[in-house]
Amino acid sequence: MDGPNIIEIKNVKKYFPITGGVLKTEKARINVLNGVDLSITEGEITGLAGESGCGKSTLAKILMKLLAPSSGEILFDGKPFSDIRGKGKRLFYENVQMIFQDPYSSLNPRLKVKDIIGEMLRIRNVPGAEERSRVRKILYDIKLDKNSVNKYPHEFSGGQRQRIAIARALIVNPRLLIADEPVSALDLSTQDKILELLEELKHKYNLTILFISHDLNLMADRCNRVAVMYLGRIVEIVPGRHLMKSGTHPYVKALLNSIPVSDPSKRDNRKKLITGEVPDPENLPGGCYFNPRCPEAILRCRIEQPPMVPLNEKGHYVSCHLRAPA
């Protein structure tokens, strides 16, 4: 699974200034991303986990070039991200596509399905006949009735809408699909179907996927690697199949402990749950960002930010003073 990296994110930061006064001077900063390092390997499903507000969606928007990073570098196929502009952008969007969390707001309510999907080809000057046949084919791939083309989004259920969103993204044959919480707005039975569909399409379309979610259970099953984010930094990267057993960062452990267990006899009442609130991104804590809530924090954690270090040869990395091998 050691393909080339399709995306390399190097020390990316993003803050939003809060301005005030007549001169619009900067009064404070909301620090959303505070130095993210992550690479997305061709052919893999990379998971990105974290609580709401930790910066997952901001990172997705930066990767889609909807937002510009405040600092840091992103490489796409080894080339700097900032070089992609003007006409290069259209080509970039043939390589990278995204599906959104809420299928109720991600489809234009005034367009028919054939236009929502077909538009992707129309703006690339694909002839009408070819457009229609490709739309028909992709509807078959996402298992939607071919008579759906003349319907409007409101005539579909949430799961069907998400399929349409997937079709819109895949019709240009992208290499990388960014899936921002693609199933968290759907009910459980539909979630499974969409995930299975995504997995099937991954093979059919040779996709690399960045799978953003807050559901660790789900990611452990399906992702090659899972990166866990806290307050705009990645605290641990672990192969998906090892996540449940070897997730080791105190934050990741707390998250794993908070997953409900259905069998009462297997419940462990001594498990420590996470306490406190996520710190205010306007005033970041010194040292490790997790130290105010960390049950194991030592003095060093309050002073020095821990670097990301490898734990073993299997691609397990952690950013924690206590877990780093001596």
Partner: protein
């Protein structure tokens, strides 16, 4: 139910006046320009349904021809100011930043002027004519559309389907007109119907003041102005054009109210 009936009444009035204006040359009983100086200020009679004015011309015929000017100016000005206002509102709301700030200050300046006063000043500079009245009212009219559209654009431009459109690789122009415009159009249509009423009143006001049509041309405002001089002796000369203005404006307001209720998401599903 009652509201619904008002909408129908509104449509009926507008259509009647519209037909009257369209068919004026065929259905008007007399030539609106014909002078019969021996029959001045005759009140409504069986020969002249709404009476005759100071020149002895038939008021009913003049009202029909006047409807042509009022409705044309009303619809054309709203169409022009709507097109300009919507386009600028889309650009302002979509791009934001310096462009938005600059355009909004222009809008603020125009809104700060008393509307009719600015129109009078403009027509005074350009010279009185129907065409110049339309220019002046368009210059005044676009700002309300810009304000409205800009606000709507701001409220939907962060929706996921707009982001999806941006990441499809299409042009900003296409995003604005294919993805944003159709989704902000409902309140704009409501605004447009109210604007038609406003423009008809403004045109009448300007014509009343002698800044609109050339003297003698039948326009509701000008007719009202002519009647003013003989208001006590022959009230019918001003009453009927006044009534026509009132009816048409009321009708457009009824239609606007109806459309607003119709587009209101709370009542949409009933």
């Amino acid at each position: 139910m009652f509201k619904n009936k008002l909408v129908y009444i509104g449509w009926v009035i507008v259509i009647l006046f519209g037909l009257g204006a369209l068919l004026a040359p065929w259905i008007s009983p007399y030539d609106p320009y014909e002078l019969r100086l021996s029959e001045q200020l005759i009140p409504p009679s069986s020969k002249h349904l709404l009476g005759q004015d100071a020149n002895g011309s038939d008021i009913f015929s003049r009202l029909l021809y006047g409807a042509r000017i009022s409705l044309t100016v009303g619809l054309l000005v709203v169409f022009l100011s709507g097109t300009i206002g919507i386009t600028i509102g889309l650009i302002s709301g979509y791009y934001g930043g310096v462009i938005d700030t600059g355009l909004m200050r222009v809008v603020d300046i125009l809104l700060a002027f008393p509307g009719l006063l600015l129109a009078i000043a403009l027509v005074a500079v350009l010279g009185p004519s129907v065409f110049n009245v339309m220019i002046a009212l368009t210059v005044l009219g676009w700002v309300s559309f810009t304000r409205l559209v800009r606000g709507q654009v701001l409220s939907i431009k962060e929706r996921d389907y707009i982001l999806a459109a941006k990441t499809s690789g299409q042009s900003d122009f296409r995003i604005m007109f294919v993805h944003i415009l159709p989704n902000v159009l409902s309140p704009v249509i409501v605004q447009a119907t109210f604007s038609v009423a406003g423009v008809i009143i403004a045109e009448s006001s300007l014509s009343f003041l002698g800044l609109g049509v050339s003297p003698g041309t039948p326009s509701w405002g000008a007719m009202l102005s002519e009647g003013k001089q003989v208001l006590l002796d022959a009230p019918h000369v001003s009453i009927f054009p006044g009534l026509a203005i009132m009816l048409v404006v009321l009708a457009f307001n009824f239609i606007g109210d109806g459309l607003r209720d119709r587009f209101d998401p709370k009542t949409e599903k009933s």
